[in-house]
């Protein structure tokens, strides 16, 4: 952990932030085109944290104390990890219209739509990063893990496999539709060396 923290020095952090900001800019454009409405993507925040500090770190964001529906989409390749999407269960009906579901929103429609949004968010965040770093990722179908729970109840240190991970936190807001989703991308520890290598290559090319 200490070693990893040292490795993730200021230069590399700046480089990653730059890459991610560019990716988010592209993603925001694409999402706006897709939804046909103004989309706000927050500037991604990075946390490098030990599994035991996770809840403390997340508690800084008060929205995580609410009960939410939690979805997961794993990704693999040179970067491995999971995208965790958190929905606060509001604005679902409006979203259904944006996502092209006609008629009454059934339970199944709603579930599939949340899966769609999870997949879109994970892809939007990661594809831009992957293409800039010149790596290729593969995605597994997303699943709904739980509904109506808080992150604190969901992330139990004893049930998490990794000891520490890099977390990238992004928030998507469709202001006109009262819809918010938070995305937590967990990058596993074995992804650090390849990520650092790629960042170094980029820095060398500057």
């Amino acid at each position: 952990m200490i070693q990893t923290k040292e490795q993730f020095d200021e230069d590399r952090r700046d480089a990653l932030q730059e890459v991610v900001n560019i990716a988010m800019g592209q993603a925001g454009d694409s999402l706006a085109k897709l939804f046909g409405t103004f989309v706000e993507l927050s500037i991604p925040k990075f946390h490098l944290c030990d599994v035991n500090e996770l809840n403390q770190e997340l508690s800084k964001n008060s929205t995580y104390a609410e009960k939410m529906t939690i979805l997961r989409q794993p990704f693999s390749g040179q970067l491995r990890g999971e995208g965790i999407a958190l929905f606060n269960n509001s604005g679902v009906n409006e979203l259904a219209v944006l996502m092209g579901y006609e008629g009454e929103v059934t339970y199944s429609n709603e579930r599939e739509m949340l899966l769609d949004v999870c997949s879109i968010l994970v892809g939007a965040c990661l594809n831009g990063v992957a293409s800039q770093l010149g790596i290729s990722l593969s995605y597994t179908a997303p699943t709904i893990i739980t509904k109506d729970t808080t992150t604190e109840k969901f992330f139990k240190p004893e049930s998490i496999q990794w000891r520490y991970a890099m977390i990238m936190e992004v928030c998507l807001t469709l202001e006109q539709y009262d819809f918010t989703s938070n995305m937590l991308l967990f990058l596993s520890e074995e992804s650090f060396p390849p990520l650092m290598n790629k960042l170094d290559q980029m820095l060398d090319e500057l």
Binding site: L34, G100, S108, N109, E112, L115, D116, G123, N127, A141
Partner: protein, 438 residues
């Protein structure tokens, strides 16, 4: 890619045991592999170049367009899962011999096909048969559903059993108390009987003795006034204070008889209350029941409350009077306990709808709105640990239910509580089994 490999790739696309469809940017079908041909019955030649949504209009307006858009725009993967969308293409179930799904359950993935310039030119749609998984999953769900149902039924039965057991326990206890009371009453009755008859005889004798004494007193003036005997007589009269003794003797006898009457009444009340030999449905006067219960619980009430009786005119009703008395006792004792310093308990009766009603109202501390719905639950008590079993009202409720009556409660904190009971005059049973439950 050399020709040989390219040929193999084509073979693989054709032979792979999953559906593969390639769409261009206008959603026109470019490739339709063997799996799709076999299951749809549509040849590739028939469908090539046709628009996906024209050929499969059911897909319109169900979010698929946006999924495809998202793949083009974000170079993303998009998915459908049989759990939320059983199928994308309506193919007959592969389990045609043994199986319960009518249509093939499908998991689908939309993947981007990106050219060298980084643009998504086509989409590859893969369709996987998930019928097996779906069947197992649904079976599991059904099994766990029926398990859950069974569990709930069991829990309900357990609860009923517990209630029945509590009631049995309580009624056994009450029966024991009743038997004890009846036994004690009987034991007291005997000595009280002969003391009573002796006192009556004693009264007669004393009256006769007093008459005798009066007769002697009439003779007194005839005695020699200076005689020593006369003086001794005067002395004796003075020393025993004969006049007071004569008066007090009458009073003492009268008080003793009153005391005996009271003992007799208590014994009668105990007998009435316990009704050991009356565990059958009989016509009974509720006023009598109320009065004898009041006498039995008098000790609990007399220091707390004044009892006001607003008795109306009521007919006798068919009931298990010992059990109805038990209800009255529970309500009266609760009313007394609810009163902190001193208050009143008002008992009113009357008739309504072919039945008789009894209201017992106190000026006690009342019951809060949150607690009110729970007071008839077994083991629910607001009294300190050890003071109440929490069974009294639940038992009362069950007794009134058994009589096909109504018991309800109104309460306001710090004002008081009013219990209302209504009982039919002539209870009718659906079957005979109920009538014997005592």
């Amino acid at each position: 890619m050399d020709e040989k490999v390219s040929h193999l790739v084509n073979m693989a696309v054709s032979q792979i045991n999953a559906g593969m469809v390639i769409l261009d940017a206008d959603h026109n079908i470019v490739l339709w592999n063997r799996f799709m041909q076999i299951h749809s019955g549509i040849s590739e030649d028939d469908i090539k170049g046709k628009n996906l949504f024209d050929r499969f209009p059911d897909l319109k307006g169900s979010g698929i367009e946006k999924k495809i858009d998202s793949v083009f725009l974000l170079k993303n993967l998009a998915f459908t899962s049989w759990e939320y969308r059983p199928y994308l293409f309506k193919f007959a179930n592969t389990h045609s011999v043994i199986g319960d799904e009518e249509w093939m359950q499908q998991d689908c993935t939309f993947s981007p096909m990106i050219d060298e310039s980084g643009t998504v030119t086509h989409i590859c749609l893969s369709v996987f048969d998930a019928t097996n998984t779906a069947t197992y999953q649904k079976k599991l769900l059904r099994a766990s559903g029926s398990l859950m149902k069974q569990r709930n039924t069991l829990a309900e039965i357990n609860k009923k059993l517990e209630e029945a057991q509590n009631q049995l326990l309580q009624s056994e206890k009450m029966a024991a108390v009743g038997q004890l009371a009846a036994g004690v009453a009987h034991e007291i009755n005997n000595p009280v009987g002969y003391v009573n008859s002796n006192v009556s005889a004693l009264e007669g004798y004393i009256n006769e003795l007093l008459q005798m004494l009066a007769a002697y007193e009439v003779c007194e003036p005839a005695l020699d006034q200076n005689n020593a005997l006369t003086e001794a007589l005067e002395q004796a009269k003075k020393s025993i204070d004969l006049d007071y003794l004569k008066e007090d003797l009458i009073d003492l006898l009268k008080e003793s008889k009153e005391g005996l009457d009271r003992v007799k009444k208590i014994v009668q009340d105990l007998k009435d209350f316990s009704h050991v030999d009356e565990s059958e449905w009989q016509h009974a006067d509720l006023h009598k029941g109320l009065d004898s219960t009041l006498n039995v619980v008098n000790n609990e009430i007399k220091y707390k409350a004044e009892v006001i009786k607003n008795y109306g005119e009521i007919p006798e009703i068919k009931c298990l009077s010992s059990q109805i008395n038990q209800v009255f006792m529970n309500l009266l004792v609760n009313a007394a306990h609810a009163i902190e310093e001193r208050g009143t308990i008002t008992i009113s009766t009357g008739t309504k709808d072919n039945g008789v009603w009894v209201e017992i109202e106190d000026t006690g501390s009342g019951i809060s709105q949150e607690k009110l719905p729970r007071i008839f639950e077994p083991f629910y008590t607001t009294k300190p640990v050890g003071s109440g079993t929490g069974l009294g009202l639940s038992l009362s409720y069950n007794i009134i239910q058994k009589h096909k009556g109504i018991i309800s409660v109104e309460s306001e904190p710090n004002k008081g509580t009013r219990f209302y009971i209504w009982l039919p005059i002539d209870i009718e049973f659906d079957d005979n089994s109920n009538a014997n439950v005592a």
